[in-house]
């Protein structure tokens, strides 16, 4: 795979291994994310894509391997250095993760209030600009609980954009939204990339959404990368999992009687 180092790569992942106890979730994967692209991590439920994302933003520590952001090893950093890097990162959570005790405006203003020395009036203007950007200019004084699911995600994006980040991570941006609202969000992701040249890393399993936004796709299965490339390139990979994924076919029943017997009795054969 094209994992050679280059100045154009904003994120470089090398031989990443993540384990929960004895269970290996991500097994020796390497890839690069280029500056300014929308990089989609695609895969079914339980393939390790959310775990990969948590590692990329530093919410989890990998068991092995390195993640370099702008050429600096993110995994080996001290907390204080990491929090500096994080000022250039934004993340949109699956459930928006807005602070429920604060208004939408305060949510967006929070990173500015905490990380910058700006005047309160400046912060207010910047908050309004960010909210306007996602079409929520009117809703600064609302509480998150008063917004719909789609609006919450937009507000989450506004908060992620607050510090004008270089990279935005999206965790399942269209999950739980109807097709129209999801499409609106996809357009917004595109728009952010076009207007501000932010690098976006999107974790999803929604093919429709991938079609709209992806510059490059990384297909994950059971902690391995099956392929990286444009959506067309991925679609043409000759791999049973990829074929099923794109044809929307279910997993065939247990491959052999032997494995079925093993799962039922809990005996594991040493291989």
């Amino acid at each position: 795979m094209n994992a050679e180092a280059s100045a154009d790569n904003i994120i470089e992942v090398r031989d990443l291994v993540v384990q929960y106890g004895d269970h290996t979730v991500i097994n020796e994967i390497s890839f690069n994310v280029r500056r300014g692209e929308i990089f989609v991590i695609l895969g079914g439920s339980g393939c390790g894509k959310s775990t990969l994302l948590r590692n990329l933003v530093g919410l989890m520590k990998p068991s092995k391997g390195t993640i370099a952001i702008n050429g600096e090893d993110f995994t080996a950093m001290k907390d204080s250095e990491r929090s500096l890097v994080r000022k250039h990162m934004g993340m949109c959570f699956q459930g928006s993760a807005l602070f429920n005790s604060m208004t939408v405006g305060d949510n967006v203003a929070l990173p500015l209030r905490e990380h910058t020395q700006l005047e309160e009036s400046t912060i207010e203007i910047m908050t309004r600009i960010k909210l306007e950007l996602v079409g929520l200019g009117e809703f600064a004084d609302y509480l998150p609980s008063e917004l719909s699911g789609g609006m919450k995600k937009r507000a989450g994006l506004a908060r992620a954009m607050a510090m004008d980040p270089e990279i935005i991570f999206y965790d399942e941006p269209s999950a739980g939204l109807d097709p129209i609202v999801a499409a609106g969000l996809d357009e917004l992701i595109r728009q952010m990339q076009n207007t501000f040249n932010v690098t976006s890393i999107v974790v999803t399993h929604e093919l429709e959404s991938v079609k709209m936004i992806a510059d490059r796709v990384c297909m994950l299965e059971k902690g391995h990368i099956i392929g990286i490339g444009s959506l067309e390139e991925i679609r043409n990979i000759d791999h049973p999992y990829v074929k099923r994924f794109f044809a929307r076919k279910s997993q065939p029943e247990s491959a052999s009687d032997n494995t079925y017997f093993q799962t039922m009795t809990g005996e594991t054969k040493t291989t």
Binding site: L59, S83, M89, F93, Q94, F99
Partner: protein
């Protein structure tokens, strides 16, 4: 037999592990409470004051009511025995000493556990489930600085304040019953109370309530961060925060009572 040893071993390991987690959390909090503000990282005063009002002022009505009633109850109960010796004036001593040394700190702590300790656990737990804690971290905001330190500071200041007021209210409850029900002379009651109480009694109560505050806030915060998986997890940890907290308060109470008895 192996099952038994396995159980003992696992339980010991688990408790050692959670003890280590609590210690880590404590060190983090002390770091963000004392060290980092000196390095210019600031403290979230506004949040701490809001919490102080919540823990202190908003708890006061119920704490006041309960401690008044408890004062009245002790007065009646001691009158039951003391009347036989015609020594009802000593009700004042009994009420005063038990209020200061024991009951006011204990009642206040137990009520605040139920009211605020559980709320701390539920709030942090819900934030964890909703990925809000993760969101803080990704923004480069330390959850300990942001959530724990203000609550810690507020609790450690609020509970002793409530306790002092509770002491007075409890004595007032005893006074009320003694004067209007048992017919002790008001002046005698006040004189007896003044004579019986020493500075050391107040100190005992204050030291206890400080340690109770530590317990309430630690247990609440720790249980909150322990929450895993959904609303059910929040409920479980909230309940267990109240039980653990009351248990540890009683233990702490016993330890300090023994220490002050011999001091």
């Amino acid at each position: 037999m192996t099952l038994f040893f396995g159980y003992v071993g696992r339980t010991t390991l688990n408790s050692l592990f959670s003890f280590a987690l609590v210690c880590q959390l404590m060190l983090d909090t002390l770091n963000w409470l004392f060290l980092q503000p000196l390095l210019g990282k600031g403290l979230r005063w506004r949040s701490a004051i809001e919490q102080f009002v919540e823990f202190g002022a908003r708890s006061m009505p119920i704490v006041g009511l309960i401690t008044f009633l408890v004062g009245a109850i002790i007065a009646l109960q001691s009158a039951y025995t003391l009347e036989q010796w015609g020594a009802t004036r000593f009700i004042a001593d009994l009420v005063g000493i038990s209020a200061l040394r024991e009951l006011a700190p204990l009642m206040a702590a137990i009520l605040v556990t139920g009211r605020n300790g559980s709320a701390i656990a539920a709030e942090i737990g819900t934030m964890k489930v909703a990925e809000e804690i993760d969101a803080l971290e990704v923004m480069g905001l330390n959850p300990v600085k942001f959530l724990v330190v203000p609550k810690f500071l507020a609790m450690v200041l609020a509970l002793p304040c409530i306790t002092v007021l509770a002491m007075f209210i409890m004595i007032a409850g005893g006074f009320f019953v003694s004067v209007f029900v048992i017919d002790v002379d008001a002046a005698v009651y006040i004189e007896q109370t003044m004579g019986a109480l020493k500075g050391k009694d107040l100190l005992t109560g204050m030291v206890k309530s400080f340690f109770f505050a530590l317990v309430i806030c630690w247990v609440g915060i720790y249980r909150g961060f322990q929450v895993e998986g959904g609303a059910e997890g929040v409920g479980r940890q909230t309940t267990s925060s109240v039980v653990t907290s009351i248990f540890l308060i009683i233990i702490a109470d016993l330890v300090w009572t023994i220490l002050f008895y011999f001091l």
